[in-house]
Amino acid sequence: MSEAAIQKNDRPAKIKSKKNKVLIFFIKLIRNPSALIGSLLVLTAIGCALFAPFIAPYNPEKINLIERLAPPSWVDPNSPYLLGGDPIGRDLLSRIIYGARVSLLVGISGVVLSSIFGVILGLIAGFFRGWLDELIMRIADIQLAFPFILFAIVVMSILGSGIWKIIIILGLTYWVGFARIVRGQTMSLKETEYIQAAYVVGSNNFKIIMKHVLPNVFSSILVLSTLYIAEFILLEAALTFLGLGSDPTIPSWGGMLADSRNYLSTAWWTATFPGIAIMLTVMGFNLLGDWLRDELDPNIQI
C-alpha cells in the first residue's frame, strides 16, 4: 500500500482519542521503510545499552593477554571472540555492546541538557523580545562562531576529562540550535488569534507559555533532539578519539577507534566493528529524525 493511501484513510483530523493517535503514528512508522529501519537501529542500540550484562558474551573489561588481537571467530576458528579481540585481549563484541551505554548516555543527556537551556532561552527571547532577545541571540551568535572542538579541548584541559564533562560542554554549546527554533516559532505563535484570545480572557504570560506556546513547539524540539543525539554520538566519539574522553577501561566506541588506529593494517576488525556500530546508530537516529520532521512538521527548517 502506498503512503498516500494510508494518509487518505487515516487523516488525523478524524481521530478523536489520544490512544488512536498514537496507534496511527506507529502504523505510519512501520509502513515507512526508512523510519522503520531507523527505529529498529535505535531500538537495537537502546536494547544493547539497557541489557548489556545479559547480551554481552564476556566481561568487557576482562583482559586476556593471550587473546590479544584475536581475529573474529569466523575468520580463525581458534578465536573465542565472534568479532575478535582488542589490543589487550578484550572481547570486541562485548565492548561494542557496552559501548552503546556511553554513546547513548552522552547523546541523550547532552540533548536533555542543551534542550533545557535552549528552550527556556528561546521562549524568553521569542516571547518577551526587547533587549533580552537581543542579548540572548547575540550570545548565541558568539557561541556559533566558536569552533566546538577547540572549546571542548580548552575546557577539558582546565577541568580534566570525563563523560560528564563532555555532556556539560555539549549542553553549553548546542543550546543555540534549540533556542533559535523555539524563538522563531514563539514569535509567530504569539501573533496567532488564540494566544491573543488567551490574553483577552486574562491569562498571564507564564500560563500562556506553558499551555499554548510550549506544546506547539514541542514537535520541533523532538525532531531536533533526535538529530542532535546522532550528532552528539559522533562528537563523543571524536573527543574520545582525541584522548579527551573517559577512563580507557570503560568501553566507548570512539575510544575503541582511537585505540585501534595503529592496528588498521594488521588487525582490521579492531576499528571496523566499532566504526560500523557508530555508523548504524547515527544512521538510525538520522533516519528517525528525518521521518519525524516530515511527519510532525514538514515546514520547519532543520
Binding site: 529501519i37 593477554l65 590479544r68 581475529p71 584541559s157 580507557p248 585505540d259 595503529n262 594488521t266
Partner: protein, 524 residues
C-alpha cells in the same frame, strides 16, 4: 523518490564495507603490491627522516629535549663523542688527562673549521663554556649539569685546561652531552643568540640551511668537515611529524626514508614491508608508575611492594609490547653505570601482594587514581593491563588520561597526579647519578614527595668522589635501598624502533636518540 535513492545508497555502502572487510580477511593484506614495491622515487642523493618533535630552539644551552639531539647531533660536536655502542671517543679533542685532582687537560684537534669557515680552537672552547656557565647559560636547563666546572683556561691555541670546583666522576660523559657541544664565538657575537637559536652553526658533518618551525629542517653537507670521506649524503631533510600514524603513512608512501619512533603496535606493519627493515636499539629510557608517597594508601611501603608484586611485568612486555622491551629492577637501564645486577625485578606473586595489602590494612575495593598521557597509545594499553592486575588483588584503579605535557610539567611536579602516574625517564649520562639525584633528592622539580635521609646521605657520598669502584659500591647500597622502598614500579626499559627504507645503507639506530648520519649512504 529521493528517499528511496538515499536508502539504496546506504545499503550499497554497507555491502561495500562488509565486502571490503571480507576481502582483507580471506586474502590477508600481505599479497597486495603495496608491501613489495619500494615507494621512494626521485630522490637520488637526498635522505628524508621523519621525526616526532621540534625542539623550537637549536641553541644547545637552551634545551634538554631528545628532539633536539635527533637533528643537532649532525650539526654540532663536543670535545668527546659517544658512539652507537655508547663508548666515549675523542671528537674535537684528541686526548685528555687529569693534571691534578681538579685540573683536566684537553689537546684539541687541529685544522677543524665551523660550517661557516670560522676556525675551531682553544678560544672557541673557552667561549662555549663561558657562555654555558655564565648568565646566558643560567636561563637554560643545561647549566645545572656542568656546575662542577669552574672555568676553562687557554694554555695555547690547541690546549685547554678545565679547572674544576670539585671532582666530577661523570664529567667526561657529560662533555659528550647537549650543553657541551662547541659553538662558534665570532658567529654568535656577530648575530646574537636569538639568531643562533634558529640558524645554528657547529663543526658537525651537516650544516643547517633551512628551518621551518614544526615543519622541516634541511641539512646540507659540511664542506669543511674534518673526517675525510664523510658525510656521504649530500642533503638530509628532517620532517617533523608528531603523529605516529601519519609518520607511518608517510613512510609507506615513500615521503620519508627513515621513520623514528615506530610504535610497538606498528611494528608488525613495518615488518611486512619488503622494501624496509625494522631496526631496534635498547634505550636508557625506563617507563615506570611513580608513586606519590605522601598519599594514602601508597604512603605505606607494604602497599607499594604489594602493587609491584601484583603486576606481571613480563607478561606486559611479552604480550602488550610484543617483546619490544626489557624487564628492569630499578629506575635505570642496564646500559647505565650504577645498575645493580644482583637485583631481580619483583616477581609476579598476587598471593603475596594480597597478604601485604592485608597486613597494611588496605580494604578490598580501595580505589587508586592513576594519571597517564592520553596521547600515548602504547602506555594506555599498559595502564589498562596494570589496572586489571591490580583488580585481581582487590584494588580498583581509576585511570585519568590527560594531556602529556600537562602531566609532566604541571601535575607531576605539584603532586596532583593521583596515587601513581606514568613517568618515562632517560638518564642521558648513562650514570645513575643523574636519575637518582633528580628523582630522589628532596626539593627537585620532579620529586615533589619522596624524601629519605639515608638516600640523601648516599647521594652526597656518591657525588664527592671520582673513584668509580667506591661509587659503584655506594650505588649498590642506594639501589638496594630504593628497591626495597619502591618509590615507583619499574615496568620496562624501552626499545627504540626505527623503520628504515632499504635504500639507506650504513644506518645504525642510536640508543639515545642521537641520530648519526655521517656514515650512512644511499643506494642509487
Amino acid at each position: 523518490m529521493k528517499k528511496r535513492f538515499a536508502m539504496l545508497l546506504m545499503v550499497a555502502l554497507l555491502v561495500v564495507v562488509t565486502a571490503l572487510s571480507g576481502c582483507s580477511s580471506s586474502k590477508g593484506s600481505s599479497s597486495s603490491s603495496g608491501v613489495s614495491k619500494n615507494p621512494v622515487s626521485g630522490r637520488s642523493n637526498e635522505l628524508v627522516v621523519g621525526v616526532d618533535g621540534d625542539p623550537h630552539s637549536w641553541d644547545p644551552i637552551a634545551t634538554f629535549l631528545l628532539a633536539w639531539s635527533n637533528v643537532a647531533n649532525s650539526v654540532f660536536e663536543g670535545l668527546v663523542n659517544r658512539d652507537n655502542n655508547l663508548k666515549i671517543h675523542p671528537a674535537l679533542a684528541t686526548s685528555w688527562k687529569y693534571i691534578n685532582k681538579n685540573t683536566l687537560q684537553f689537546k684539541l684537534r687541529k685544522g677543524v673549521k665551523f660550517q661557516d669557515g670560522e676556525p675551531f680552537n682553544a678560544a672557541a672552547v673557552k667561549f662555549t663554556f663561558d657562555r654555558l656557565l655564565g648568565p646566558e647559560g643560567k636561563k637554560g636547563p643545561q647549566q645545572a649539569n656542568y656546575t662542577s666546572i669552574d672555568h676553562v683556561q687557554i694554555i695555547d691555541n690547541n690546549t685547554v685546561n678545565f679547572i674544576l670546583k670539585q671532582p666530577d666522576p661523570v664529567l667526561i660523559t657529560k662533555l659528550a652531552g647537549y650543553g657541551a657541544v662547541i659553538v662558534p664565538p665570532k658567529y654568535i657575537k656577530q648575530h646574537g643568540a636569538q639568531y643562533f637559536a634558529n640558524h645554528p652553526i657547529g663543526t658537525g658533518p651537516y650544516k643547517m640551511t633551512s628551518y621551518k618551525k614544526d615543519n622541516q629542517v634541511v641539512l646540507e653537507k659540511n664542506k669543511y668537515y674534518w673526517k675525510s670521506g664523510e658525510p656521504k649524503i649530500g642533503k638530509v631533510v628532517f620532517r617533523i611529524i608528531p603523529d605516529p600514524s601519519t609518520r607511518l603513512a608517510d613512510f609507506q608512501t615513500g615521503a620519508i626514508d627513515i621513520m623514528k619512533t615506530v610504535q610497538v603496535s606498528q611494528a608488525a606493519t613495518v615488518k611486512k614491508l619488503k622494501y624496509a627493515t625494522l631496526m631496534q636499539a635498547s634505550t636508557p629510557t625506563v617507563y615506570s608508575l611513580r608513586f606519590n608517597v605522601k598519599k594514602s594508601p601508597v604512603n605505606h611501603v607494604k602497599v607499594r611492594q604489594a602493587i609491584n608484586y601484583a603486576i606481571d611485568k613480563k607478561a606486559i612486555i611479552d604480550k602488550v609490547l610484543n617483546g619490544y622491551g626489557k624487564e628492569i629492577s630499578t629506575y635505570q637501564s642496564t646500559l647505565s653505570f650504577g645498575n645493580n645486577p644482583n637485583l631481580k625485578p619483583y616477581p609476579y606473586d598476587p598471593a603475596k601482594a594480597k597478604k601485604l595489602l592485608a597486613s597494611a590494612g588496605v580494604k578490598n575495593g580501595t580505589s587508586l587514581d592513576m594519571f597517564i598521557s592520553g596521547s600515548d597509545a602504547t602506555f594506555k594499553e599498559v595502564a589498562q593491563t596494570v589496572s586489571a592486575y591490580l583488580q585481581q588483588v582487590g584494588l580498583k584503579v581509576n585511570i585519568h588520561t590527560v594531556d602529556g605535557s600537562t602531566l609532566t610539567s604541571k601535575l607531576t611536579p605539584t603532586g596532583k597526579a593521583g596515587q601513581f602516574y606514568q613517568m618515562g625517564w632517560g638518564g642521558w649520562t648513562l650514570d645513575f647519578d643523574n636519575t637518582a639525584y633528580l628523582l630522589y633528592s628532596k626539593g627537585q622539580f620532579w620529586n615533589p614527595d619522596f624524601y629519605d635521609p639515608q638516600v640523601e646521605k648516599l647521594l652526597a657520598a656518591e657525588r664527592s668522589t671520582v673513584d668509580q669502584t667506591k661509587r659503584q659500591k655506594i650505588f649498590m647500597q642506594l639501589t638496594q635501598k630504593l628497591y626495597n622502598d619502591v618509590p615507583e614500579v619499574n615496568l620496562f626499559q624501552t626499545v627504540a624502533l626505527y623503520a628504515v627504507n632499504n635504500r639507506v645503507v650504513g644506518f645504525a639506530p642510536p640508543h639515545d636518540d642521537r641520530i648519526n648520519l655521517a656514515q650512512s649512504s644511499l643506494k642509487k
